[in-house]
């Protein structure tokens, strides 16, 4: 009886083994298919990305040529120029400080400070509404910093003018609490650390050729400044010198 059972068991085992071996090759092929799919997907994405980059580069070159032609044949006025450069229809702006969602935003050209603040979720409860002129004009590539109450910040807006000089105008109402509401600091020249040349940097208090070069080296190395405080990481600038420089510098959109 037991020998019969053993025989049946062995027979079952053999048939299972046969079944497994015949099937296992199919599963192995499935495995290979999955592997090829994975490789194919990653290769397709990588190639697409590379192609996309080259296409963007070509586009930039073409747009550059178009713009120069328009400048040369500047007969039909500024309207044509605006039509030829679609990126000017939309400004890219950076807002930081006491707003609900600080960050980089795309806004239609001609936007004002209050629109950017609204897009960033509005002012937080800590924001100092007196220290900022919500009606001021913005410009493409602006960095707007909304200070908190009691925060000592010299500038909040940097207008990236085409001649690479950054001037903050009319936006910041001054964080000095002694000043009356509605007073404006007008025509304050502020140097944008991300665009300034060595000569411009040397005009800052306590900054000589060596320190100016150190600032430029740091900017090249790190790809730009994100905040004015980052100046403390530059060789030759300590907290005291930093406080002297702070009112005259700002950080523009990189």
């Amino acid at each position: 009886m037991s020998s019969k059972l053993d025989f049946e068991f062995l027979h079952e085992k053999e048939s299972l083994e046969k079944y497994k071996s015949s099937k296992s090759f199919k599963w192995f092929l499935m495995a290979f298919l999955c592997f090829v799919l994975a490789l194919g997907l990653s290769a397709a994405y990588s190639l697409g990305k590379i192609k996309g980059r080259s296409f963007e580069a070509e586009n930039v070159v073409l747009q550059g040529i178009g713009a120069s032609e328009i400048v040369n044949n500047n007969e039909e006025g500024e309207l044509d120029k605006k039509q030829a450069t679609p990126e000017e229809k939309e400004w890219i702006l950076y807002i930081t400080g006491a707003v609900k969602n600080p960050g980089v935003y795309k806004m239609p050209s001609g936007s004002r400070v209050y629109q950017l603040v609204e897009k960033a979720g509005g002012l937080t409860t800590k924001a100092d509404p007196v220290a900022i002129n919500l009606a001021a004009n913005l410009g493409d590539g602006c960095h707007l910093h909304v200070p908190e109450k009691g925060e000592l910040v010299a500038t909040t807006l940097v207008e990236q003018s085409r001649d690479n000089l950054s001037i903050a105008k009319d936006v910041f109402a001054g964080s000095n609490a002694n000043k009356p509401y509605g007073s404006y600091e007008k025509d304050v020249d502020v140097i944008d650390l991300n665009r300034a040349s060595a000569e411009m940097l040397q005009s800052l208090p306590g900054v000589g050729p060596k320190t100016a070069q150190a600032i430029l080296d740091y900017r090249d190395l790190r790809g730009g400044f994100r905040s004015v405080e980052e100046l403390l990481e530059v060789k030759g600038i300590g907290p005291k010198k930093m406080e002297k420089i702070r009112p005259y510098v700002t950080v523009g959109y990189r």
Partner: protein
């Protein structure tokens, strides 16, 4: 083919690593997880035998792998939104030399932040401070040492610049960091150099520079990083001592948690700790867990916690070493000690050479003697710690004995190293060799068969090279 029956977590680990590395390369998180899912399926189908049990495991692995990969890839691919400034109360959670400065990690209610500070600030672990600073994102470099992955794997969110600190006058607030700092100071002041150095390593995960140099020369640097060796030693002592106690597993687990906390939750220590915890829990519930499954599960848990561990040297070395040890069963017991030492040396060679630039040949042989002898010496060093408070200088005698024993063994290892002073310094081919050896022994251990072993190892190498490119 035991992969799906014995170590399904290895499939998950592979898919998670692939997903994280792809997301790190800039792939969208859904695509990363899909590719990782296919890689996992490929591995699963390789060991699939058509039985319903295996099918359920495969489907479960695929679903968990896909969800987990998506979660990890999403976390890696999306940068944190940081506030501009911080003005908070903080505790110094960690500090270490950082070039000519010191890197200090501040733990605040809003997360952990790192700052490079001047050594003259004299901030120590456990100090309560008030900080005011601007927050910048961590530097992300594509070549060489990457501060981003280093600090993210330690839970740091951003770096502080323009830091202003005010030390709190409240001196005796309880915190683990303060206790660590206090005990470190006690060890530094009460023990002779060698015992002190090893105690700092064993208890706090701090490397003594002199010992680090010596162990680097002997090729036994892994003994200075808190890993499975140390965790097994500490927990093993307690587990053995409580052999007849009813609550031995629970007590061991509690002690394990405190030990990990004291070592600063280093990646390698966490991996070893989690693995030990799984083994202990398996024992407790009567479901013993296999080494490879325990290692994979521990690694998977760590990745789910902090996906940036994939780039952490300690995590990589620890997981690869533990997987290699889990595979030593493929050799006969007579030669397993010899082969495990050589295999560990070869499997870790790629990472060691890439990171440290040189790999001493003597490590191939020195580990054979160093591992068992240091296990004994570490045991003596640990025992001597509480004895030092004994009256009439009785404890000092034990510490003196431990110090002399360490010095004698140091002389012996120096003597051995003098016969083989050469080191490998060319790293170009070693990462490939190391990974290939790991794949081959893993497939052999999981009974893949010759043809499948070759195929799986080759495909694994292809994926590895693509991910590294």
């Amino acid at each position: 083919m035991k992969l799906l029956y014995e170590t399904p977590c290895l499939c998950l680990l592979v898919s998670f690593i692939v997903a994280v590395l792809l997301a790190g390369k800039g792939f969208p998180f859904l695509l990363s997880s899909l590719i990782a899912g296919f890689i996992m399926l490929a591995l699963g189908f390789c060991s699939y035998d058509g039985t319903p049990h295996a099918f359920y495991v495969l489907v479960l692995c695929f679903v968990v792998g896909l969800l987990g990969s998506s979660f990890l890839a999403y976390r890696v691919g999306n940068e944190l939104i940081l506030a501009d400034r911080i003005s908070e109360k903080a505790v110094v959670a960690f500090e270490r030399p950082w070039g000519s400065k010191r890197a200090v990690v501040f733990k605040t209610a809003k997360g952990k932040y790192v700052a490079d500070v001047s050594p003259s600030l004299a901030l120590r672990e456990g100090d309560s401070v008030e900080i005011k600073a601007s927050i910048l994102p961590l530097e992300n470099k594509s070549t060489g040492f990457n501060p981003y992955t280093y600090w993210r794997s330690r839970g740091v969110r951003g770096r502080l610049v323009g830091l202003q600190t005010t030390k709190s006058r409240k001196a005796y607030s309880f915190s683990l960091y303060r206790w660590r700092s206090f005990l470190r100071r006690w060890v530094l002041l009460n023990f002779p150099p060698r015992v002190r150095g090893y105690l700092l390593t064993l208890l706090f995960g701090v490397k003594d520079p002199d010992l680090a140099q010596l162990h680097s020369k002997w090729g036994t640097s892994h003994l200075l990083a808190v890993s499975g060796f140390h965790v097994a030693l500490v927990v093993g002592i307690v587990f053995r001592a409580l052999k007849k106690a009813k609550w031995k597993v629970q007590i061991s687990l509690l002690l394990l948690f405190f030990y990990l906390a004291f070592t600063g939750f280093a990646a390698s220590a966490m991996r070893a700790g989690l693995m030990t915890a799984f083994v202990l829990i398996g024992k407790m519930i009567g479901r013993p867990i296999r080494t490879l499954q325990a290692v994979s599960l521990a690694a998977v848990c760590l990745l789910l916690w902090r996906p940036w561990f994939v780039w952490d040297v300690g995590w990589k070395l620890s997981v690869m070493s533990a997987l290699t040890i889990g595979c030593t069963g493929i050799f006969s017991k007579r030669i397993s000690l010899l082969t495990s030492s050589a295999l560990l040396w070869m499997v870790t060679a790629g990472i060691v050479l890439t990171i440290f630039g040189s790999l001493p040949v003597v490590g191939l042989f020195s580990n054979l003697i160093a591992i068992p002898v240091f296990a004994l010496l570490f045991f003596v060093v640990l025992l001597s710690t509480p004895l030092v408070i004994l009256p009439f200088g009785l404890g000092t005698l034990v510490v003196w004995f431990a110090e002399k024993a360490l010095l004698v063994f140091e002389w012996l290892l120096n003597f051995l190293a003098s016969f083989m002073p050469m080191s490998i310094t060319e790293p170009w081919h070693w990462p490939i060799i190391s990974i290939a050896i790991l794949f081959v022994i893993l497939t052999k251990r999981l009974n893949f068969g010759f043809f499948r072993s070759i195929c799986v190892s080759s495909c694994g190498l292809v994926v590895y090279m693509i991910l590294l490119s």
